[in-house]
């Protein structure tokens, strides 16, 4: 096997944005190492990333054209909007229909619930306000004495902000309906799924800014799968992937930080302290995955007053007298979220399901795989899409 490009921290620092030389070298290295692992395009090396921004960068910069055919880079459940499943959306919709003001991040507006999305409820007169930050929601609460519930979605990095807002003593009419999710537990689940055969993970750089890369050590021990933390520039991603396939080739189950300018081993301890002061992990449903133990973040008992679920009797049952529409049966968002299918595998992709009239959550959010693929020109992948996976495949 010929010389590889070693990735030492010093070199990582020298990555230049859109440096064609560098990009070519990295791509060549990626190809070389992947080939050395010795797979065929029919059963490629499979790695997963769990970040919408990673997928955006990959799609936008056409990186899949650069990846070797024997490497499959799959997006996993990394879109916080998309993995918010029906029960939680229904809770927000039910509350809204009960007359409670809801503040939410914009992307959540059009995510389908069992009967309605928040946008549908809004069209029928429910009061839903779009905010970019939980701090803005607190401000709105301050502006009147009416109850305001912040529908808190997003992963742990976003949950930090919600926690900080609560700790800073917001007005008494402000409460939180938490649909926050925690990523490391879902990696555990995906690592165990026989259909996915993931051999390594690319972790998101900015999330790791908060959690630190040390958080992956136990995971790596347990599952014997390497994890590389990577940034968002195309060169960062290429470099991260190269490191990952090297680890796979050498069968080294380790955590490597390829994003040292933003990520340290312990991470941001202050943010972590805020997070766990307010939230506790509990099991729950993610769209596409029936149960992720410890995958949901809920408010701790001490914050019961701020917990919309304790504060209100949420009447979800009224939303259930409803047969699932025929199209949604065809929607394979769940499989896409779990990384066992790609948007191109979906019958509805680009036809009945487009950003203007999305059928599933993956087409709603800017971090959803389907929307990303649709935006950046459909199927950027040059190879034939793999067979839908079934038993033993």
């Amino acid at each position: 096997m010929s010389a590889r490009l070693p990735l030492v921290p010093a070199e990582a620092e020298q990555l230049r944005f859109r440096d064609p030389e560098r990009a070519r070298a990295l791509a060549a290295g990626l190809e070389r190492v992947t080939r050395a692992i010795g797979r065929s395009p029919g059963s490629p090396v499979s790695v997963m990333h769990v970040c919408g921004s990673h997928e955006q960068a990959i799609a936008k910069f056409g990186l899949r054209a650069v990846f070797p055919r024997e490497l499959d880079v799959i997006m996993g459940p990394g879109c916080p909007v998309c993995i918010t499943d029906l029960p939680e959306v229904d809770e927000a919709v039910a509350l809204a229909r009960q007359g409670v003001r809801i503040a939410t991040y914009g992307d959540m507006l059009r995510v389908p619930g069992t009967m309605q999305s928040l946008a549908d409820a809004q069209a029928e007169g429910a009061r839903i306000e779009v905010v970019y930050s939980v701090a803005q929601a607190v401000d709105r609460a301050r502006a009147s004495s009416e109850e305001l519930v912040f529908f808190a979605t997003g992963f742990e990095t976003t949950a930090v902000a919600t926690a900080a807002a609560l700790v800073a003593d917001p007005p008494p009419n402000f409460s939180v309906l938490s649909a926050h999710k925690y990523i490391p537990p879902v990696m555990e689940i995906v690592a165990e799924m026989p259909q996915t055969r993931i051999e390594g993970f690319l972790a998101a750089g900015h999330a790791a800014t908060i959690t630190g890369w040390g958080i992956f050590e136990e995971f790596v021990e347990r599952h014997r799968l390497p994890v590389v933390v990577a940034g968002f520039e195309p060169l960062d991603i290429l470099a991260g992937l190269l490191k990952l396939v090297e680890l796979i080739h050498d069968e080294r189950a380790e955590v490597v930080n390829a994003f040292p300018r933003c990520v340290t081993k312990e991470g941001n301890l202050r943010a972590q302290e805020l997070l766990w002061r307010v939230f506790r992990p509990t099991g729950g449903r993610w769209r596409g995955i029936a149960h992720v133990p410890n995958g949901n973040l809920r408010l701790r008992e001490e914050w019961a007053e701020r917990d919309a679920r304790q504060r209100f009797a949420i009447q979800v049952e009224e939303l259930w007298n409803y047969a699932p529409p025929a199209l949604s049966q065809e929607c394979i968002c769940g499989d896409i979220m779990a990384g066992i299918a790609a948007p191109a595998d979906c019958r509805l992709f680009g036809r009945e399901c487009v950003p203007d009239s999305p059928v599933g959550a993956c087409m709603v959010s800017s971090e959803g795989t389907c929307k990303i693929w649709h935006q950046y020109g459909g199927h950027p992948d040059l190879r034939v899409s793999p067979e839908p996976k079934g038993v033993g495949a």
Binding site: S53, A161, H206, R270, Q375
Partner: protein
């Protein structure tokens, strides 16, 4: 929105900082950052909260991606749109100085 957005701190008032994002000024909360932040520092911002003080030696590197993105049109590019959203996460206050 996994992407945080960097900006330059212009003014600090307790836990609240006024941050300049390529000419646009916003308020960002500092409760969540683990180092002291002074005007002139750069912070990585996510949904209106600073998650990291960017070490001086990394600033140029960090800004590079965003500068490229900001040349795109937000209407057509998702990454650019996300960056805009992050910038908008701050309030719009009257800024001293």
């Amino acid at each position: 929105m996994c992407l945080g957005v960097p900006g330059r701190v212009v003014h600090v008032d307790g836990a609240l900082a006024t941050v300049d994002f390529w000419g646009v000024r916003r308020q960002v909360r500092l409760d969540t950052v683990d180092q002291p932040v002074v005007p002139g520092d750069y912070v990585l911002n996510h949904v209106g909260f600073a998650i990291r003080r960017i070490p001086p030696e990394d600033i140029v590197e960090t800004l590079a991606l965003y500068e490229q993105l900001l040349q795109e049109s937000a209407a057509e590019d998702m990454m650019r749109a996300d960056v805009e959203a992050e910038i908008a996460a701050g309030d719009v206050p009257p800024v001293p100085g």
